[in-house]
């Protein structure tokens, strides 16, 4: 990670939890209790019902903006051109997520839905002194994450097994450094060429997310995820660990 990216990440993680005032579903029932009772029911009974709803444990994730940012470390298993199963490479990146469960009316359910925009970068360099090929893969993914919250909604610590899927685009940048030994001593003994292509594909996978949230809904989030990423006709497998903040 370069310094600029690190500072940006630290700046975002150190933001105070402002809540961004997007509204809270836990207030909605209380407002209706001041309206006329439907079906001519006695007001007393209506108030009792509202009171008991207020006492239900409140899901902490229902508070706050639901935005999360995670740093990613990934082990990327790429299809090996030689026909064996894979080559291994390491990568890193960032993930931005927005928990839309409340907007979709899933607030009271354990079902969670979160669209995510992720970027990971991995690179490799191979060859001999005379022929070196370097490749960098920048993978961008927009996936929908569908999870199931385990445990009580009021708990600060939560585990969410999930599946995810969505479109992906990978920018493959390749550089070739060629230096024929016979050309040593000549004016231009070596050459460099670089090409790149944005390769479309899809990403899908599964994992386990965790969160340690305060009453405000802000806190730590993270995950362990196994993701299959298609770029053109090639598939990569990424085992990633994410750690970040939720606002």
């Amino acid at each position: 990670m370069n310094h600029k990216s690190l500072y940006l990440l630290l700046a975002i993680l150190s933001l105070p939890s402002t809540g961004l005032a997007l509204g809270s579903p836990s207030n909605e029932g209380r407002v209706s209790s001041f309206a006329a009772a439907p079906g001519g029911q006695p007001y007393g009974r209506q108030i009792h019902a509202e009171t008991s709803r207020r006492e239900e444990p409140r899901d902490r994730a229902a508070s706050g903006a639901g935005l999360s940012l995670e740093a990613i470390l990934a082990l990327v298993f790429q299809d090996d051109p030689q026909g064996s199963s894979y080559t291994r490479d390491s990568g890193w990146g960032l993930r931005l997520g927005w928990d839309m469960s409340r907007q979709l009316g899933l607030g009271s359910l354990p079902l969670r839905f979160q669209p995510e925009l992720s970027w990971t970068q991995s690179s490799e360099e191979q060859g001999t002194a005379a022929v070196i090929v370097s490749r960098r893969l920048d993978s961008f993914r927009l996936v929908g994450r569908l999870g199931w919250r385990l445990g009580e909604p009021s708990q600060g610590f939560r585990l969410i097994p999930f599946v995810s899927a969505g479109p992906a685009a990978t920018l493959s940048s390749v550089r070739y450094d060629i230096a024929d030994p016979v050309g040593r001593g000549r004016a231009s003994p070596s050459s460099e060429d670089a090409v790149s292509e944005l390769q479309w594909g899809a990403a899908y996978g599964a994992g386990l997310a965790f969160g340690a949230l305060a009453e405000s809904g802000a806190g730590l989030t993270g995950r362990l995820e196994l993701l299959r990423i298609h770029r053109g006709y090639v598939q990569d497998l990424a085992l990633s660990v994410g750690l970040g903040f939720r606002l």
Binding site: Q82, A130, P167, E197, Y233
Partner: protein, 413 residues
């Protein structure tokens, strides 16, 4: 209703799972000799014969990756069927390769080292094959021949895996392109000369030895433990190397193709005339064999490297014959290919099949005569008689009636 909601995004997602590039003639970037600079560089070429682009499989070759081959030098494979041999040595038969590309302006660029290496090797096989077909090789010969790419091959477990080499291996009817380890030049798999050299071996096997997976001539010519009459087997080893070098030169025009990959070889394989290396005779051949007999414990090692030098004599002679007026290297190589099988009783195939002890095949006269008879035109026959007569101290008139009155060249004598 729900199904209708889910189907469009699912279909869109499936559409994003891309397809491989289509087969057929295509523009591809590979490592190739730049005629302008005389150096290897990344060049965009047309690859014409691919049937499966990611697998880099086509008429020219079929790559196989990740194979494990275990040859046991202590084990005798005599009497085994070809299938039993394959089963015995192929611990892992390997798998189709899957090269990766990025596409820019309609050109496929291999996107990692192995993909570049594989794509380049395929292109070089295609070029070597096209050259051989143009010289008269039958279209069905060596079609889609497998090449094992970076196989893990061991002969002796104590010595580890073989690396930094390339080979034609008739027992698997395949090429072997080993991993690079110490060599840091142009990888052998990307060296057009090396690929054409190995293709030359395969042509020799296909034509002279009738494509035999386990040629019987070597056993027939060395049927006793000490190989008391080694002329045939030694000549076979040296002409194979020399003829393979001339195929490499024909395809590439590169006189020092080996030095691009193996710098320590120096000028030992140079084809430019060198009086101290390229002049020989039947008498010198006999004397050398006798001298080598006095050190039987060094026999294999001595001839293991010497055959390349003897081969360079043949290759250099053929190269210089191609420089004579009225002919060119292509016509000389056409004569060479014709000498393999097309010239009836004078052909090397006939000699190999009928020579009981290897004495005839093991003489310079027989080999030179077969090549000269293979020449389709008089200037080429004259050129061959002149240069071969000079280099190996042979009488041109005895090689072919067309060479009556042709004097040997004066480089050596």
């Amino acid at each position: 209703m729900r199904r209708k909601l889910f189907l469009p995004p699912l279909a869109a997602l499936l559409l994003l799972l891309g397809c491989a590039p289509e087969a057929g003639p295509l523009q591809m970037a590979v490592l190739d000799l730049d005629p302008g600079t005389g150096l290897y560089d990344l060049r965009v070429v047309e690859v014409r014969t691919l049937e499966d682009v990611p697998a880099l499989r086509g008429e020219a070759a079929t790559p196989i990756g990740s194979a494990v081959i275990r040859l046991d030098s202590r084990r005798l494979y005599d009497g085994m069927s070809e299938a039993a041999f394959r089963a015995a040595v192929l611990s892992e038969p390997g798998a189709p390769v899957e090269a990766q590309f990025v596409e820019q302006d309609g050109v496929l660029y291999p996107s990692d080292f192995h993909s570049l290496s594989l794509a380049t090797a395929y292109y070089h096989f295609e070029k070597a094959r096209a050259y051989a077909l143009a010289r008269g090789l039958g279209a069905e010969k060596l079609r889609s021949t497998p090449f094992y790419y970076f196989p893990a091959l061991t002969e002796d477990p104590a010595e580890g895996q073989l690396a930094d080499n390339a080979a034609w291996f008739p027992m698997l009817r395949s090429f072997l392109l080993f991993p690079h380890k110490d060599l840091q030049g142009i990888p052998l798999s990307m060296n057009q000369g090396v690929i054409a050299h190995e293709y030359g071996h395969a042509i020799f096997n296909a034509e002279v030895l009738n494509g035999a997976w386990f040629p019987d001539v070597l056993q027939r010519w060395c049927d006793d433990p000490g190989c008391s009459d080694p002329h045939g087997s030694l000549m076979m080893g040296s002409v194979e190397e020399g003829f393979a070098d001339i195929w490499a030169l024909g395809v590439t025009g590169d006189l020092r193709f080996i030095n691009r990959s193996i710098e320590p070889v120096g000028d030992r394989r140079d084809l430019e005339f060198n009086g101290s290396r390229h002049c020989y005779s039947s008498a010198a051949w006999e004397a050398e064999i006798e001298q080598a007999r006095t050190r039987p414990y060094q026999w294999a090692r001595y001839w293991g490297s010497r055959r390349y030098e003897l081969g360079t004599m043949w290759a250099s002679a053929l190269y210089h014959a191609g420089l004579e007026p009225g002919t060119d290297l292509d016509r000389v190589i056409e004569a060479l290919l014709a000498s393999y099988r097309s010239t009836g009783k004078a052909s090397l195939a006939h000699l190999a099949a009928t020579d009981r002890r290897g004495r005839t095949f093991g003489s310079f006269d027989s080999i030179a005569q077969a090549i000269v008879i293979g020449a389709k035109d008089e200037p080429t026959a004259h050129a061959l008689c002149k240069v071969l007569g000079d280099r190996f101290a042979l009488d041109p008139a005895a090689l072919d009636p067309r060479c009556d009155g042709v004097a040997p060249g004066g480089d050596c004598r």
